[in-house]
Amino acid sequence: MSYVQELIPPRPAPAVAIKPVSASRITGVVLLTLWALLGVALVYMIVSGWDVEKFTRYGPRYLSGLWVTLSLVGVSLALGALLSLPIAFARMSSNRFLNALAYGYVYVFRGTPLLAQLYLIYYGFGSFRPQLEAVGLWWFFREAWYCGMLSMMLNTAAYQAEILRGAILSVPKGQFEGAQSLGLPASVTFRKIVLPQALIVALRPYGNEIILMIKGSAIVAVVTVLDLMGQTRYVFSRTFDYQAYLWAAIFYLSIVELLRHAWAAIEARLTRHLKR
């Protein structure tokens, strides 16, 4: 019988392999350096171009612009949500005429640029001034703010209707049948059973829609509304200072990031019963 008589002598641990610098590391460092340079340049631009007079003159303008942007988005989102309800139900109804009408509405407003819709409402309806005055609606179409609000509302209603429809359709049919077998009326079924489940599905798309609206609201500056973008354009036209746009970028970016994180927190809170 043979067996091992000599054990393998212990050896020192292998030398730590030096990780070769990979291409991705180099690219990453280069890109990050670029970003850092850009950030430093931005800070330098703001610090070196700091002007107390400009700040006191134009600072409040940015704040008022911020308020106009937020109120415009808030009002149009709320009204759009109201308008999206009948559209979503028409889209789901078995009535072919209603269905086609809602489908057409959604298709038109999602298929054309918001800017074109805004021009159509502001300049297009504005060319019917005598008729509008006769109906007593001229005060509405005269104000750029109202026109911006109207176009954003109509636009977001189309998107929100699709979100709502998708969410309601995602509720399983057994939920309706269960409610029916319990003898619940249709209104209670909708309010207490379908809507809470649908809204959880719709939470994320709704958050995206709010962010899209905040970004989309920048275009109302083109029709003389002095929102954040409008004030920025005004300041730039006065000072020819590139900082104007950088400040706007900082404002928009912080609103969007704040909203994104807040919405994620809300979503995590509302869906905590679904986590395992």
Partner: protein, 267 residues
């Protein structure tokens, strides 16, 4: 040398005239609008608007490959093992998805102008410089497109099981071949719906370049509206043209989807 080229040029001009859907012999404007505001030629705005449609389409088509390429590499960077690279790519997508498209456009347009101007000033060459609106629009739109595209591609990458890479390795394929022959064909199939949506958004975002003075659909109809005082008609026309582009692209996308899914069809 110029003979064949000019002949080719005039042949091309003839082709593009005959098949022009707006002002050609069977164009909409020349058939139905010959004595209205949308007549072709000097009498109306038909040919100007047809030019605007061409500009919009070419801007969108020029943006697409650039945006897709940047987006693809950003998606690769977003899923890299290297932390630094991931961070750098994350900053890119966060910034350009958070900024309004209009602001990005302005920042690119004026920023590039100031940058080039100061570079020239440093060289002792002092002159006012205007960069091309088409170029600025293309860069801004492809930056926005690529940052959304990278997210779509990233989630598509995540849907591809790791075994596919290992299978590529086992077959002895190089990394680039694994990517091109194994991963990409599946990636396209998964990402196609998302990319289609992005294309629709891109088509709508091209309207923004009218603000920096590129003569796209909206700019041309706007000029026509101001001069002819028929704002409602021309802006409705602009909406219809954009809608037509959307309808045509959704048909095209459906065909591409059918082509991409041809291997998964039940026989």
């Amino acid at each position: 040398m110029s003979g064949p080229f000019s002949a080719l040029g005039s042949f091309w001009a003839w082709i593009s005239y005959v098949f022009d859907p707006f002002c050609g012999p069977v164009g909409v404007f020349s058939l139905f609008g010959s004595s209205t505001v949308v007549a072709c030629g000097d009498a109306g705005w038909g040919d100007e608007i047809a030019f605007g449609v061409k500009v919009t389409i070419s801007l969108a088509l020029a943006t697409l490959p650039l945006g897709l390429a940047i987006g693809f590499f950003m998606a690769l960077a977003l899923q890299a093992e290297d932390k630094v690279l991931r961070l750098a790519a994350g900053i890119y997508t966060t910034i350009f998805r958070g900024l309004p498209e209009l602001l990005t456009l302005f920042i690119v347009y004026y920023g590039a102008q100031i940058l080039i101007q100061s570079a020239f000033a440093a060289l002792g060459y002092d002159e006012r410089i205007e960069i091309n609106a088409f170029f600025a629009g293309m860069v801004a739109l492809s930056v926005v497109f690529s940052s959304y595209c990278s997210e779509v591609l990233l989630s598509a990458f995540k849907a591809i099981p790791y075994g596919q890479y290992e299978a590529g390795d086992a077959l002895g394929l190089r990394r680039a071949h694994t990517m091109g022959l194994v991963i990409l064909p599946q990636l396209v199939r998964i990402a196609l719906p998302g990319l289609g949506n992005l294309w629709m958004n891109l088509l709508k975002d091209t309207a923004l370049v009218s603000i920096i003075g590129l003569s796209d659909i909206l700019r041309q109809t706007g000029v026509a509206a101001k001069v002819s005082k028929e704002a409602f008609f021309f802006y409705v026309l602009a909406c219809i043209l954009f809608l037509l582009l959307a309808i045509i692209s959704s048909y095209g996308l459906r065909h591409i989807e059918k082509w991409a899914y041809r291997s998964e069809k039940r026989r």
